[in-house]
């Protein structure tokens, strides 16, 4: 059988890779890809704790479904923002969008 630790380490690795993507990528769409990886890592944790805890308490799976909904909303609004910015500024490179920086 698989011990809980394997899932937790996998999720930690996936989260760290997503964090790297968010911090290091230049393209705004690629930053959102990193956010998706982090959300998936969180979901693995939630489902793993559901399976290894009291299986009749469904909180882990319910929260995972709520995270799905939030992720869908976040991607829809995020990509709409990126497309809107692209229309106005003709770029989606995050470091060139420095209107609020002085």
């Amino acid at each position: 059988m698989i011990p809980l630790s394997w899932y937790l380490i996998l999720a930690a690795g996936l989260f760290s890779i997503g964090l790297f993507g968010v911090l290091a990528r230049r393209n705004a769409v690629a930053i959102l890809l990193g956010v998706e990886l982090m959300l998936n890592a969180v979901n693995i944790n939630l489902v793993a704790f559901w399976r290894y805890g009291d299986i009749s308490l469904m909180a882990g799976q319910v929260f995972a479904i709520i995270v799905f909904a939030v992720a869908a909303a976040e991607v829809a609004v995020g990509l709409a923002l990126v497309i809107s910015v692209y229309r106005r500024r003709n770029t989606v490179v995050a470091e060139e969008l420095d209107l609020l920086k002085w």
């Binding site: 630790s5 890809l33 299986i55 497309i83």
Partner: protein, 169 residues
């Protein structure tokens, strides 16, 4: 080593490698396709965790909707973004350091926790996870309020996305 463990190791390795490619490849269409591979790996992890319904939702919602939305966005913003300049910014080493430190911190915290190498209890016979999940999502004693709030959030996101992306000329 049991068959389940072998499957987990293979799927986990493929998932992590695909995730690394998501954050490093230069062509964003390829990055989005590697994201699809990662999401498939996570769906298989859900199946290993006896959460079959979530695995199906993962494939339908994440791969069917979110990943396709990413590919659309990449293609709509393509001309300059994907092909000019480096994939990573100048401070990528700081990001890498941060990610490694996060992983090390999480691993250290987790291995000092007593339940770290816990084994799963067997599933009682006649346990119907989907039935329980549906009941929990619709019962006033369960999670009907977060469920409804999530639907309001989705509606707001829908309206917001249409408003933002609408071309007002």
């Amino acid at each position: 080593m049991t068959g389940e463990q072998v499957i987990f190791l293979i799927v986990g390795a493929v998932t992590l490698i695909a995730a690394l490619l998501v954050v490093t490849v230069k062509d964003l269409v390829h990055a989005a396709l590697w994201l699809v591979a990662t999401l498939f790996g996570v769906a298989i992890i859900y199946t290993l965790l006896n959460a079959g319904f979530l695995a199906v939702v993962q494939v339908v919602v994440y791969i069917g909707a979110i990943a396709i939305l990413f590919i659309f966005a990449v293609m709509l913003t393509r001309r300059q973004a994907a092909d000019t300049g480096a994939a990573l910014n100048q401070n990528w080493w700081a990001g890498a350091l941060m990610a490694v430190l996060t992983f090390a911190g999480l691993a250290y915290l987790l291995q000092s926790w007593s339940g770290f190498s816990k084994q799963a209890a067997g599933i009682p016979s006649g346990f119907d996870a989907i039935n329980q999940l549906g009941g929990a999502l619709t019962s006033p004693l369960g999670y009907v309020l977060p469920f409804e709030v999530a639907s309001v959030l989705l509606l707001a996101a829908l309206v917001g996305a249409v408003y933002l992306a609408f071309n007002k000329k």
